[in-house]
Amino acid sequence: MEVIHPTDLDEALAALAAHPEAVLLAGGTDLMVEVNFDQIRPEKVILLRRLAELQDVSRQRIGAGVTFRRLESGDHQALAQLARTIGSPQIRAAGTLGGNIGTASPAGDALPFLAGLDAEIELSSKDGTRRVRWDRFFLGVKQTALRPGELITAVILPTDLPDCQEFAKIGQRSAMVISIASACVFRWRDGRTRVAMGSVGPTPIRARQAEEMMSAESNPGPAALQEFARLVSEEVRPISDHRGTADYRRHASGVLARRLLERCLAK
């Protein structure tokens, strides 16, 4: 196995251009599980963990190399909330936002946050940088629009950030769980509402009908909330697996989204 230890981003991109087949290693919390169980045998590895250029955080741009541990105390409430639910302290200290995006698991907890905010993924190669909106980036289960020679450098958030943001997930116990369903709800003071669901489809799902309906409600009562939950349940596309049935996920999605919205309305 050949190991490339770039000292800066340019070096990493040059190495990746020369060896597009190389495996990118960030926190290793997804990759090393596969390595330990002999599911992959990397021939070339490019180490990203210590690249300073991937560590920057500002309100609109979050570096791919930022760990969930750092995001736990960040500016964006839902991102901090979801960061606190990732694995354990050990996993959060190593696992990165870029790794979560690179894995593109349907249960990746950062994904609904990106979807709900219409975030863009910043991709860099030796030839330049492009931004791809989340829905053109996440193409299927563990499938993304990342091209050979590219790496994820950051996540770009819009300037018009919501007045309220809430994340929650459902799992089998309260710590160290892979989501059975997760939700991000965003609401602006003018009523605009967005809902993104995770673990209930191959890629994150925006419940657009529920959004449209709720965005027109300035002071939603019980009937509107009920309808909102119903629409969310209708719009998700869950499967049954060892963690939960499709029916359960469908039901849970509506309940979860409604509860998060209620938190926003109570503020």
């Binding site: 196995m1 599980v33 330990n36």
Partner: protein
């Protein structure tokens, strides 16, 4: 590939064959067998070490990625004496088969360093990544709780 790093304050090095984990390297190349391997998938915490100031699962660190890093293992925690967490766990009889103990010790020591007076809930939350297959959590948590508030 030759990997040079600092382990428990000493400069050490070893040769890797490929993609083996830091846990493997610590145990097999450096003969530091305090860190245990059980699940090798980040679930149990028995391999917990401090890497460049962060509590991580050494089974999920590729050994080559630790080149130039500082690693603290259970062997280096207390120096020549037992660390207070180790003493506390002996005191409360928190060791059954002992397989999870080094991981708990490293994780709890790190927690007490970072948080001045964690509540019992904080302790449970922060140790969520450490599993005791003997299920001796009561005594483990009691032991750690006795240290809260002590400087």
């Amino acid at each position: 590939m030759r990997v040079q790093l600092t382990v428990n304050g000493e400069s050490r090095s070893f040769d890797t064959k490929g993609s083996e984990s830091l846990l493997f390297a610590l145990r097999e190349y450096l003969r530091l067998t305090g860190s245990k391997g059980a699940c090798e998938q980040g679930e149990c915490g028995s391999c917990s070490v401090v890497l460049d100031g962060n509590l991580v699962c050494s089974c999920l660190v590729m050994a080559v990625d630790a080149a130039g890093s500082e690693v603290l293992t259970v062997e280096g925690l207390g120096g020549s004496e037992l660390h207070p967490v180790q003493k506390a766990l002996i005191e409360t009889g928190a060791v059954q088969c002992g397989f999870c103990t080094p991981g708990f010790v490293v994780a709890a020591a790190e927690l007490l360093k970072e948080t001045l007076s964690p509540s019992p809930e904080d302790i449970r939350e922060e140790l969520a990544g450490n599993i005791c297959r003997c299920t001796g959590y009561g005594a483990i948590l009691r032991g750690i709780e006795t240290l809260v508030g002590e400087a």
